[in-house]
């Protein structure tokens, strides 16, 4: 049933601490887990890596503002003979024992996320109200959510009652040396170029809250690295992959271009 959700080859992941062991322990106890950290620091890559390592299928749901509870649990559809129920992705994972990964969970409205409450305590059940069914979670099922604390304003936050159901792993951008290694390996570029990119990114992160919502992420550095690998000069690669995507503010763009000039 969930074969399509299996990850066959090992996704590259460079541990920065003991997060792999911690997560494995949490999975062994089937504790719901929360991954916290800024965008592009490797949360999604980490969970894919863990799914591969634990040999479990992974169902990923990207949350958004318009998402309703039906988008998670399922809904009735029409067929020639009347109505037919279709499981949503969450129900699918619950029934068949996958890791369900709710990406950027705060994006979803708070009343949507309460459907996971019964799943994340010792009951481990998912009530399908519309269908009148109570789904008991498969023994291998685990719920994982990710969440970016700085990215949204105070307007969007998890309910206290939701938060307290999870154990949390905190992700940040890795240390410069580790990040250099990651960028060099992912983009297949030499270490010194990767180092320069990491230096640029570290400086852009100094502007967090000072005009930028977020600094350049590891993901952006890897994109820049790919461009450099393809023969684009470092300055242009940074403009295309880091500066222009990150801000529309001309002053910030100017400052960042000069940061690139200072580091390169």
């Amino acid at each position: 049933m969930l074969d399509g959700y299996m990850i066959e080859t090992e996704p590259y992941y460079r541990p920065t601490g003991n997060e792999v062991d911690l997560f494995a322990a949490a999975y062994a106890a089937r504790l719901p887990a929360m991954l916290k950290g800024p965008t592009g620091c490797g949360k999604t890559r980490f969970i894919e890596h863990m799914a591969w390592r634990l040999k479990r299928p992974i169902v990923t749901i990207s949350c958004h503002e318009d998402m309703t509870a039906s988008d998670l649990v399922g809904r009735f559809l029409l067929d020639p003979n009347g109505t037919v129920w279709a499981d949503g992705p969450l129900t699918l994972a619950v029934r068949h024992g996958a890791i369900c990964y709710l990406d950027e969970v705060v994006e979803a409205r708070q009343d949507t996320t309460v459907v996971i409450h019964a799943l994340t305590d010792d009951r481990r059940i998912l009530p399908l109200e519309k269908k009148g069914e109570l789904v008991q979670a498969h023994p291998d099922f685990q719920l994982v959510i990710s969440y970016n604390p700085g990215y949204q304003s105070v307007l969007k936050d998890l309910k206290e009652s939701t938060k307290q159901r999870f154990c949390a792993l905190d992700f940040g951008y890795p240390d410069p040396s580790v990040e250099t290694e990651i960028v060099a390996s992912e983009a297949n570029i030499d270490n010194s170029t990767a180092h320069t990119l990491v230096e640029i990114a570290r400086r852009s992160r100094n502007l967090r809250g000072q005009g930028l919502n977020e600094g350049a992420s590891t993901r952006m550095l890897i994109s820049a690295g790919h461009l450099i690998k393809a023969g684009v000069p470092i300055g242009e690669a940074c403009t295309v992959a880091l500066i222009v995507p990150i801000t529309d503010d001309p002053d910030m763009r100017d400052a960042l271009s000069n940061v690139v000039a200072a580091c390169a």
Partner: protein, 722 residues
């Protein structure tokens, strides 16, 4: 030759006297040799116009100034522009022609003709109709004159780009010091350098003689240099018994040390800094030139110097490479080099010494000066700095304050408690647009916050009684259309649940062989209302006039209407603010905040409304900009300024009626560019064309019968924001 003789004859015939004609003859010959004969002849007309407006003395000055202008401008088109500018100026400010003409060489050396025009017009605007004030400006007795001249002449200054430079500094070094502009007039010698302390940086507004893109580079280099100090510097060096020469050398080594550490992390900085090192390994061997050469030798690997002292400095410095992280090496190397220079008996004048190259700071931040021993020049900078830090600390740790530091309007200062509440305190400066010079002059208008005076406490009850029925109707209306309540959307393509009616229809269609409509879902959707409104009341003197149909002053009806409207807005839960303004010249735009966004609408606000009194004039543009700058901070999708006014802008210092109209138009356009709409409600107005020019035809509504205002205003608001 013939036209020239004709021009001379004309002047002769005009009766200005023989002397002036002679002067003209001489001057025109010089002018002709500089820029050609035609302008030399045209000059006669200008001379004539200037003499008629400003008298014979001005004419004579004009004849002296014209050859100078011709020589400096070098080009007949520019010279012509100058001629016509002088003619215009003589018409605008006849009494000030002599002082301006007698400074022609200085002015043209600093400004080009269009900058000169902007400066002259600024002087005229600044003084309004006050001749004395105007004369003081053009004789440079008023300090404003020099300041504005500086601003016009230098093009881009630090504070035109401070935001991006601040971001640059924060990004590179992760530091966020307060950056201030050096007070004008203090550093007008050649030694204008940046300066820094523990938590502040003081930047010169301009570097003399540096313009355009180069000045931007220079600011960037200066900030990067200070950033390196802040990041890699240690504690301040103790001054001890060091002589000024040794202080200078130690500082120089310290500069090089922090720069090298910064360059190790950011190699690109070398390019930035090296560009400013222009010392050559030749010429006189003074202390200053040696310093400049050593500075260069320490940063520029390609630079070779034969001087023994410079070579020794370089060797010592690079030999200590492994210890660069330790600030103490600056002191030890500096001492060695300083002693050598002392033995060479090199003269060193600490008073006239300015650190080279330009981008480096004045080094005062490196040294701990004992309080009494601080050198004069330095002490006041340091004391200034201390005062600034103290001042910042003394402020309440207000969150808003932190945010304003990062805001574009960081120059907003915390009000000091007023002595006289009706006087108000300066809270901000706003720009103003001059349509003639086509420039927006920054910081032109001063906004004073005037604390609201509480009016009769009974007003709240009175107005509620008077408009009881209306308020009830509005409340009912608002409840009915209250937004935010979820709405059921039927027959949807997608949705959470099935829409039963649609399903039955679809199945019926299917069974009877028709193509069914597959939109069988229903969804619930919350309607969002995301709107912030600022109500801006014009309370100029004219609103005190009674109006025909009711016989009470406009302001009374205005006040009632505002209360009713505020009631509707509070009911709708739209964030809103209310402010009233009037003005008394550009230095005194009085702005009374009756309710801000954060406060609920309470009796206090109604009492404050009851307390507003009409007076003074209407400097509309400034008030709109001020309101806009507050509204811009509201995190709403739609932002609206609702202006309620009874006439067009005017002020005592603006004789030209078009000036403030064009300024207000510009303000409305600028705000529109920021996503803030201005909608105007005009009460009993006369000149519709002008109002439409300011706000645009669609953004204005006229209310002729003032008694209807309370009702119309609220319904208008509901329609406008639905």
């Amino acid at each position: 030759m013939a036209p020239w003789l004709r021009a001379r004859r004309k002047l002769d015939g005009a009766g200005y006297g023989e002397a002036l004609c002679q002067t003209y003859a001489r001057a025109s010959i010089t002018v002709a040799s500089e820029v050609g004969p035609e302008p030399a002849i045209e000059m006669a007309d200008t001379l004539s116009a200037v003499t008629i407006k400003s008298g014979l003395q001005a004419g004579a000055h004009f004849c002296e100034a014209a050859p100078i202008a011709a020589r400096l401008l070098k080009n007949f088109q520019r010279f012509r522009a100058w001629l016509s500018l002088m003619q215009r100026f003589a018409a605008l400010a006849p009494e000030s022609v002599v002082p301006v003409l007698s400074r022609t060489d200085a002015l043209i050396a600093e400004l080009n003709v269009s900058q000169l025009e902007a400066w002259l017009l600024a002087g005229v605007r600044l003084s309004g109709v006050d001749v004395e004030k105007r004369l003081a400006f053009f004789t440079f007795e008023a300090p404003e004159a020099a300041r504005l001249l500086d601003r016009e002449s230098k093009g881009i200054g630090f504070f035109d780009m401070d935001r991006r430079l601040r971001a640059y500094l924060s990004a590179l070094f992760g530091v966020h010091p307060v950056i201030r502009e050096a007070p004008p007039g203090r550093h007008d010698g050649s030694g204008r350098r940046s300066s820094f302390g523990e938590s502040f940086i003081q930047m010169p507004g301009h570097y003399r003689g540096v313009r355009g893109p180069e000045s931007e580079m220079l600011f960037r280099a200066a900030l990067a240099h200070i950033g390196a100090h802040l990041r890699f510097g240690g504690r301040r060096f103790a001054l001890g018994q060091l002589k000024p020469l040794q202080v200078a050398v130690v500082s120089l080594i310290e500069d090089a040390r922090v720069e090298h550490l910064a360059m190790a992390e950011m190699p690109g900085l070398r390019r930035l800094w090296t560009a400013f090192h222009v010392a050559e390994a030749s010429g006189a061997l003074t202390a200053e030139s040696r310093f400049a050469r050593l500075s260069r030798a320490l940063i520029d690997p390609d630079f070779e110097d034969i001087d023994g002292w410079v070579r020794k400095g370089r060797e010592l410095f690079f030999a200590a490479k492994d210890k660069w992280h330790d600030p103490a090496i600056s002191r030890s190397i500096g001492n060695l080099l300083g002693n050598d220079l002392g033995q060479l008996r090199i003269q060193f004048n600490a008073k006239s010494y300015a650190v080279q190259p330009l981008y480096r700071d004045d080094n005062l931040g490196l040294w701990a000066f004992p309080e009494d021993a601080a050198p004069e020049e330095c002490s006041d900078v340091i004391v200034e700095g201390a005062r600034a830090t103290q001042g910042d600390d003394a402020l309440p740790p207000d969150k808003e304050r932190e945010e304003t530091d990062r805001d574009p309007d960081a120059d907003r200062v915390k009000p000091i408690p007023p002595k006289d509440p009706t006087q108000g305190v300066a809270i901000a400066r706003q720009s103003e647009y001059d349509y003639e010079a086509r420039v927006e002059r920054p910081d032109w208008v001063t906004i004073h916050a005037v604390a609201p005076q509480a009016g009769a406490a009974s007003y709240d009850r009175e107005v509620r009684q008077r408009y009881q029925a209306l308020i009830a109707r509005i409340t009912e209306l608002v409840r009915a259309t209250r937004v935010g309540r979820p709405e059921r959307l039927k027959k949807q393509q997608e949705g959470e649940t099935l829409d039963l009616d649609a399903c039955i229809e679809a199945v019926r269609d299917m069974r009877s062989g028709f193509l069914p409509d597959l939109r069988v879902y229903q969804a619930r959707q919350a309607r969002h209302r995301d709107l912030s409104v600022s109500v801006l009341l014009d309370i100029s003197a004219s609103t005190g006039d009674p109006v025909g149909d009711v016989g009470v002053p406009i302001i009374d009806v205005l006040r009632d209407a505002t209360v009713v409207l505020a009631h509707a807005m509070a009911e709708l839960r739209d964030p809103f603010s209310i402010a009233a303004f009037n003005s008394n010249g550009r230095d005194d735009v009085r702005y009374t905040q009756i309710k801000n966004f954060a406060e609920p609408f309470t009796r206090a606000a109604t009492a404050a409304l009851a307390g507003i009194k009409p007076g003074y004039s209407t400097r509309l543009g400034a008030a709109l900009r001020e309101t806009g700058s507050q509204l811009a901070r509201q995190p709403s999708h739609r932002r609206l300024i609702l202006l309620i006014s009874d006439g067009e802008p005017s002020d005592i210092d603006c004789p030209d009626p078009k000036y403030l109209v064009e300024d207000a138009r510009r303000a409305v356009q600028t705000l529109a560019g920021q996503g803030i709409n201005v909608f105007s409600v005009q009460v009993g107005s006369r000149d519709r064309e002008t109002e439409e020019r300011i706000f645009g035809r669609r953004n204005i509504v006229h209310i002729n019968s003032i008694a209807e205002l309370p009702e119309k205003l609220s319904f208008l608001y509901l329609r406008l924001t639905a």
